[in-house]
Assembly symmetry: C5
Homo-oligomer: 355 residues x 5
């Protein structure tokens, strides 16, 4: 995962919308307008063709993909502050909510499991919340907000009558809730690694732990400011969020706090697993070295004895020159010496508790 944002060149004027590479996939925009009793949905080919606001109607434009021209046009159409537009384009912004007189600008990260190998992906979700319009811009195509549209279609008064405030809450709540499956997947990977470590430590485990640690660092960078962001929203939101919606916002704060807690707990567990790995590896290695060294150590004196009687001193010259070679029991005696030495060492090692 990238930890750096798409940046403009230092020194350029703030709000400059740099030309980005055209999005890989064509941009898709889904438009919904609703009030308590009606709901109109359409797929806009050109998001710039967003209908005019109608009194009493809540409008929601959900854009997938980035394009400078499009964002500029939407910015003019909805009178969005250039600093906010810049942050929509330059993805990789911090999680934050900002208050521009007539609108609230919210940035947060959507984490997801990317593909089958459990890699964690991240995209920036930008929300511009105005009294009658919500604009949500996402980096990639997905059905992230489909459940919200489904709930709108069902027509429950809580969401249909909640205005842009409740809609913004529902979008944020959805994004925040998507952190938990990602954290669970990380937790599952850690349990696998823990089992592997306790069974037989593998160098691959360290690389995997390092990867999890990096993922947790990136998630943490995004999740820590969530509470600040949400309480900023709380404070700046008198016009947008009614008392009931505020109860729900408090529930999101609670989820964000829980996510922070889990991230911190997982981080500590990664540390603990790293320690476990290191001590496992060193235990295994010590075990190996010990057995091998003991084998070597036992045979070294034996080989010495064998070498001793392999010397060629001439017994015929002197009765002192290796008379053992001429003894009747010489060979059994030498074997016996070796057996005694080997047994002695084994007993010594066992007494010391090394065996």
């Amino acid at each position: 995962m990238e930890i750096f944002k798409r940046r403009h060149v230092p020194g350029t004027a703030p709000g400059t919308l740099a030309a980005t590479e055209p999005p890989a996939e064509p941009i898709r925009a889904r438009y919904v307008e609703y009030r308590l009793d009606t709901l109109v949905e359409s797929d806009l080919v050109d998001p710039k063709e967003m209908p005019e606001a109608t009194p009493e109607l809540t409008q929601w434009l959900d854009v997938e993909g980035h394009d400078v021209g499009l964002i500029t046009a939407l910015g003019q159409r909805l009178s969005i502050h250039p600093l906010a537009l810049e942050d929509v384009i330059n993805v990789g912004q911090r999680t934050k909510s900002e208050d521009f007189e007539s609108a609230i600008f919210v940035v947060l990260d959507h984490f997801f499991i990317d593909g089958d190998n459990g890699a964690v992906g991240k995209e920036q979700i930008s929300l511009v919340v105005q009294p009658d319009v919500v604009l949500s811009v996402r980096e990639r195509r997905s059905d992230l907000f489909e459940p919200i549209r489904a709930r709108l279609r069902l027509g429950k008064p809580r969401i249909r009558g909640g205005g842009t405030g409740y809609l913004a809450y529902a979008l944020i709540d959805t994004v925040v809730d998507h952190i938990f499956p990602v954290l669970e997947s990380i937790g599952d990977s850690m349990e696998d690694i823990e089992a592997s470590l306790l069974d037989r430590p593998d160098p691959e485990d360290v690389a995997a732990l390092h990867e999890l640690r990096s993922q947790l660092l990136v998630i943490r960078k995004s999740v820590w400011p969530l509470r600040d962001m949400l309480s900023g929203l709380y404070r700046s939101s008198e016009d947008f969020f009614n008392d009931e919606t505020r109860l729900y916002l408090r529930d999101v704060v609670d989820h964000a706090t829980m996510a922070v807690d889990i991230v911190e707990t997982l981080r500590e567990m990664v540390s603990s697993l790293m320690d476990l790995y290191l001590s496992s590896v060193s235990n295994r290695m010590n075990e190996i070295m010990k057995v091998l060294t003991i084998i070597a150590t036992i045979f070294i004196p034996l080989s010495f004895v064998a070498g001793l009687y392999g010397m060629n001193f001439d017994p015929s010259v002197s009765p002192l020159n290796m008379p053992e070679l001429g003894w009747y029991w010489g060979y059994p005696f030498a074997l016996g010496v070796m057996a005694v030495v080997a047994l002695g060492l084994l007993v010594f090692f066992r007494r010391r508790g090394w065996l």
Copy 2:
């Protein structure tokens, strides 16, 4: 212990009560209603049959086990906010207290020693406190709140006349106090491990320390927010807690702080023990390797000497070719050389302090 909560699918409406698997054991509910001079107790087969509130009476329904239908019915009967109900069902919530106009909702964790092997278990205790009714929902069957019922039966005016505020305090106090035996059990395990480490370090100890560390992490995640929860209760509780009860609440805050202190202290001790283990292991290993290497090192030069005189240079060809083999004192001389080398090395090793 699980660190993830039972979650709803991201994007579902808040307050949606997902169907959970039916509880393993049948649900049991104990009902008590009391005032200063009377007390009626019953076991409700169907908790939905809870009697209507009577003026002046305090009602307490204590439910063991979860069931969506039951919780929904109780929620309607007692007008509980759907967000609170959702958190009762989706166990694994953070320790927290929330203020819903007409009720206080409290979540906290009950830790217990699970079985004989010292494993630490956790269940979520949810309390809904209303002016005349207290609903407590627990995950599993146990006699956790039996002492409270016993005190109610005894009829002391402090608890009989304290209303739902004092009852809520008594329940929270009981749950908080159950943390200490668990921490003590962890502390005892650590003392056992410490004794083992100082005596003879064992790879099992590391796995045990890792387990304790994980347990402490989970307990800490639950205990840290206790103080926040309790002070939230304090602030939001003017209607429920009178001045005398507040003195008692302060006492619980004190216990919670003490639990946090002990958890942090135990965590540091686990780190210290881990260090102790690592240095013990490396000391033992070094000890072994040193002795073995010294044995090997002493015999290597000796074997060389033996090998030297095992060479087959032909003494008959030249007087320079291993004349020692023909010496009268040849063999004793060779043994002497070996003895001198071995002694020299021993002295050298001892001088250097390696022996």
Copy 3:
């Protein structure tokens, strides 16, 4: 040192005074009553026989040892809140000060060097401060407060006329000041260990460092809340402490802060010493292994050469079969080869800086 408090069974009513084992030593109580011009001192056999309060007189009862009956009686006699009484009995409470309308309840820990082996002991000191009476309860017999009695006897107006506020200050100041000799003793132990480490590291040092670390953890748990306790006293104390006494209280806060600073500094030094130990040990071990391995490595090629010429190829069969054995300079040649190899290796090792 114990990190767990004496606890009541979870679920019992607050303020329940559990029967504790009778104190090992008989309880002793010293009673003093004084004003500017008079002082009466007595040893109460039965602390319950404490005299009635006389206007203008300050009464101080100093009890050594715990006994449920006694504490209950004193509690009734002095109208002490049951929660405070419970904390007097269940020693192991956090350092704290609590405000009960008519009294201040203070708990803090007295640390002392226990016996000759430098073990650190801890006892709980409980103070109940009322407008005219101070009750101090300690766990064990000692002359801890004798200097205060001596100062009272001397009759200086500052202490004789300071009322219970100044007396409470003097008692707290004495207990806090006793932390410093304990910390100094720990500091001295650390200097001994440091000297030992720099000279010759010893596995005993690690166990000693671990012990010091545990002691510092326990002291820290007690010392950290001291400042909170004292500022709580400050805030709650308008009735008890006059402006002059408050200046002295500020001085105790200063000492408490200093104790915290020293504890933290000592803790970091223990960490630093642990690192020093580990690198010392590994340096020493590396040194040993290096020398031994070098000896082995030099002799291994030499032994190979010796083994070579110990082969029994038959020179009579072929002129190619070990003709060296029949050379006139064969043996000196072989010795020369060995010398060259050994010298070559020595030069190589020295060039690489391994010798």
Copy 4:
């Protein structure tokens, strides 16, 4: 990078401007004065010749290089407080903003990649912001503020009409934005090192990680106080910054926070890489030692057997003396024993999972 500032001798009067060594390169000063409709630019040979202020005009003097005489002269010309002048000369000051009645004094660090080897350089940027004049002093020649001059030339009303407040913002924004390419370069280096570590760990990597760690420490020391500095600016700036400019200042705060986040994340990643390195190295080493030791261990018993039958016991003396040497199948038998031992050890090692 230097972490110490150029200091005056302790005890000298505050505001003393010590003679510094003359700058290596001649001082260059660029002067711009502008209002909405006009802009005059010039290169001042002698910065002291700065034109007098004209009503309605914003003046900006951008000085590259330090010289005590010059700074003193400018200080008198612009009535700058001596403490501010002292900090302009003694570079290495903390990031800070200070309010002197008639001016705001801002110090911050400009980080840049110095040369091709990726070394990180640092220079102090000092800004003196007065109602109509901005003085910027930099340590070295560069085009750091050229983009600002370009934007001024373009004549956009936002910058031309923004006065000294907007100009100060633009300068600070430019300097802060320059931190990101530096952090990205560090991040790239870390990715290179990570790839190297996972492939084949190299001692050079540790030195490189240590270098990155030092760089991050220096950047962190400079970046942490940025937020304080900016919020100080915010508070003290009512006269200089209008509401629109404040929105932009908030954006810089956001960037500063992001920089802090990235620095902290990179620091944790360096730690994680260090761990990865250590475990990689120890894994590789263990791998090597294991294979080598196993080879040695297998041959040691084989050599013993060979040594055994190299003994010279005289078979003619006794039928017990190495009768194997005279067996018909003696040699194949010995080889067979060796093969069995070697295979047995291989099987044993594989069973234990060491191979």
Copy 5:
């Protein structure tokens, strides 16, 4: 450096001035009295003979060395609070400023390089600031405050007319500024160690790092509370410090913050160097062990082959008994086998990247 203060016996009355050992050097006191137009300087043999205060005159008594009698006399002469006097005597106090109605009492530490070996020394500087008198007490003889006297003699109105407030500022500023050369010296030592580590790690380096770490711990303990002390001064100082002097005090706060930053940065660098040392040592050691083990491993199979053909199986008994010994190409064949084995191992090691 000592981390413990000179203490009184626990339980003694506050403000008791314990008899200390007489100072090693005779006490020296320098007296200055000045106003805008006059300055009188003298060396007082007996500091008790300090002249009476004259209206409009600022008096400064600078005492070097401690003596209970002298401090008591000065205390009475200047009506200093006994708690302040106690802290002047019992050196080793925390950095702090305390407000006694008619005076401000300031304690801070002066750090200096002690002797040529770079050891860091510490002395306590106590200041008593009254409306017309400043008393400064230092532990040792030095010219610490000589530059202040020189500035007074020069007669600049800022210091001559600044009263005791400006004088106190100047003294504190001088002491704080002396921290930087000490920190620089530590930084230089660390650079030396870093160079040594990258070149060839030396066990001495660890002891040196440990020493630097201890020094930084002691300095940190003293520097951390500086900001608190100075802001306490700020708050309590309305009577002593005018607005201009306050600007200067803010500058000292800035220096103190910078000192804290540098101390923390240096502490992290020590940690990083420790890591660098450990990995350097282990790299070097691994390098050595690897080469040595490879040499050993190559020769072990060769020696086995040599040992094989040193066996004494009797070729005359059976054609199977070591027929190689009788081959024409036997010896070259054996040498060839050895060469092949050695080359094979070398190739294997190189392929694996171990060579």
